[in-house]
């Protein structure tokens, strides 16, 4: 156990290496495109505009501060979905490293998440600016946002490990992901308020950690409400359980990743 903790502490240049890989991942995603890094910001803004038009003009939403509600939902979900989707073919994408040079396979996941996190930061800054201008409520519970974000990152890491490992053996993983991603999109309350659901459906926040994470994020960032500790605890527990499953599966089944390509 102690050795595992020690391994987490960056030896020599490990942090530098992860940072370099993350930076290059981030840059190559937008290399050569006309608008370059602005795509990182434009994509969620475009999605935001569409949903906003639909849910204010066509099917008016009764959710308070709907623009901000939608904005944070979209960028957090996009962080999740881009990270996981990017990891499904990670062994193929990083074959040039894994085959030629000794590298800890987990480092390519850390760098992958860091790269999408950079994109998320861009978007979050835009959200923070909008929140500052449009929102007149504030609560110190906002300081707990890093905990909620850490919960999201744990979920992302766990899902990446699970899907990339399955992807080694099952070539139609993209289709499975497409279905799951759609389920999560509709079941996470990106554009509707889950608290309005009644009966058993109201429990969705506890079963789907993304939904719970979004609820807590919105409560503390937009509505100045206290964080729901019980929800946070259950979401964190789910993330840890998923992460343990992901790490176990990855350790057991990822060794043959390159020869299965």
């Amino acid at each position: 156990m102690l050795q595992k903790i020690i391994d987490w502490v960056p030896e020599n240049n490990r942090l530098e290496r992860i940072w370099l890989m993350a930076k290059f991942d981030f840059v190559t995603r937008y290399y050569g495109s006309f608008l370059g890094l602005f795509w990182a910001l434009l994509k969620p803004l475009f999605q935001l505009a569409i949903f906003y038009v639909v849910f204010t003009m066509l099917i008016p939403s009764t959710t308070d501060k709907f623009l901000l509600f939608l904005f944070i939902g979209i960028i957090m979900f996009q962080f999740f979905t881009e990270s996981v989707h990017g990891s499904m073919n990670i062994f193929k994408a990083k074959k040039y490293l894994l085959e030629n040079i000794q590298i800890n396979k987990l480092d390519i996941f850390y760098s992958g998440i860091s790269a999408t996190f950079l994109g998320f930061l861009f978007n979050f800054m835009a959200f923070a600016l909008a929140n500052l201008i449009l929102n007149n409520t504030f609560s110190w519970s906002i300081l707990l946002f890093p905990v909620v974000l850490a919960n999201l990152i744990l979920i992302i890491f766990a899902t990446q490990l699970i899907f990339s490992t399955i992807g080694i053996y099952v070539k139609d993983i993209d289709n499975i992901w497409f279905v799951l991603n759609n389920l999560l999109f509709w079941g996470s309350g990106i554009f509707f308020d889950l608290s309005k659901l009644e009966g058993k459906l109201a429990l969705i926040e506890y079963f789907n950690p993304l939904a719970g994470i979004l609820t807590n994020a919105r409560d503390i960032l937009i509505y100045a409400r206290p964080i729901d500790i019980q929800l946070l605890a259950i979401n964190l527990l789910t993330a840890i359980v998923l992460l343990l499953i992901g790490l176990w599966g990855f350790k057991k089944y990822s060794a043959k990743a390159l020869e299965k390509l």
Binding site: N12, N13, R17, L20, Y96, I101, Q102, I103, D172, E259
Partner: protein
Amino acid sequence: MSELAIELKNINKTYTVMDKDSQNLRGRIISLITHTNKREIKGLSNINLEIKKGEFFGIMGHNGSGKSTLLRIMSGAYPPDKGGTVNMYGRYMLLSLGLGMNPKLTARENIYLNASILGLTLKQIGQVFHEIVAFAELEEFVDTQVKYFSTGMAARLKFAVAVHADADIFLMDEFFGGVGDAGFKAKSEAVFHESLVKGRTIVHVSHVVKTIRAHCHRVLLLHQGEIVGIGTPDEIIPEYQKLSKKIRK
């Protein structure tokens, strides 16, 4: 030359080949239940090998003999079958004639990335950066994406990084002799001699008798995944040639 650089114990490698239909979710489930649609191919059998630090070790064999599989097991890209142990004592880099670099990144970025993975800090990379570029003879292409490089240019770049980032073990798959013009080959050879003095270990997979004879201290001959013999080039090359004649018949 007494310290070990590479130790392989009881290495076997079996590839499981699946039918195309078994590679999707439906096929996987059916295959799990029925245990059909897959075949096993033996890649390597019972390989036990010790390579000493500072040794220039050759691996010879005909196509399909398991040379590249063995090298990829050493590099950690492929796991051996259960019960096999691979111990690598030092930092290593596999050099093959494939691109081996991120084609979307520039030469500069690839140098930083590869050298960093080999263990150099950003400061150390900065110190050897110009030497790497000069050695690879790519001064005019530092900020060009590697996708525009020829195979030779990319191989030179990889080799230059491996040399200057002080990898302890070079795993070379048909790499030597195929890189660059006569000038670069001469430079590479000089590096090999200097490297061996520094105690670097080189594992060199090749068909080319000439380079094996010129450089290797010991050679392993593989045939159909099994060791035929290990010895000096003078002992093993005739065996290899005899085997070639037999295969041709």
